[in-house]
Amino acid sequence: MVEEKVEISNKLGLHARAAAKLSHLANSFQSDIFLIYNSDRVNAKSLLGILTLAASVGTSITISAAGKDEQEAVTTLADLFHRKFDEEN
């Protein structure tokens, strides 16, 4: 299992469009991928699951993956967070 903690730095937080990008990307990996936010743990491949986190800017989230491509999955998803979901410069 691979885990990485990332900060949500885009102003709108994990809103619908960002969650759609994230779940779409997560679905391209074979590994089971979860997002852990405070006491909540949701399937990163579920758009609506991600939205239930109501995660806002300035907070941190842990990406957790287990499977054949776990390292690539975590690195790729973390990069999307670092790029602020390509919403901002």
């Binding site: 619908a16 759609a20 405070n38 758009l47 609506l48 109501a54």
Partner: protein
Amino acid sequence: MNQKTAKPIRSLLITHGQLGLELKDIAEKILERNLDIETISILWGEDGSRILSKIEAFMKRHSDGPIVIFTDMFGGSPSNVCFPFISPDVEVITGINLPGLLKFLTYREKEIPFTELVQIIRKGAIDGINVMGEYLGEKSHGRRKS
């Protein structure tokens, strides 16, 4: 209605006024792709037979597979006009909202039975309704001012 969803299920959004068009437009923006959902906007005072004709035309065009019809409110005219079309291959989900529509769009290509799919959509729509104060209290995220 137990066939596997081997191909994307057709869908029709029937609503009062332009609500369906707006839902579709927002879903397209969120998912960043064009959606093959058809819409029927029922205008105030519109002749019921014209609406039925539009639904029948849709059914004829897509008679080769299962169909989900979404309407905005149980008991409203968009829902009531759909009753004659319900069959093992055609289901109607009333009271659709954005979470329910997104649930459908992210599950429609999965190989799951049609009957299961419609229940997943219904749950997605219902789960999307929350009282935020209660939700934040339950989650104890410390984001609620007390």
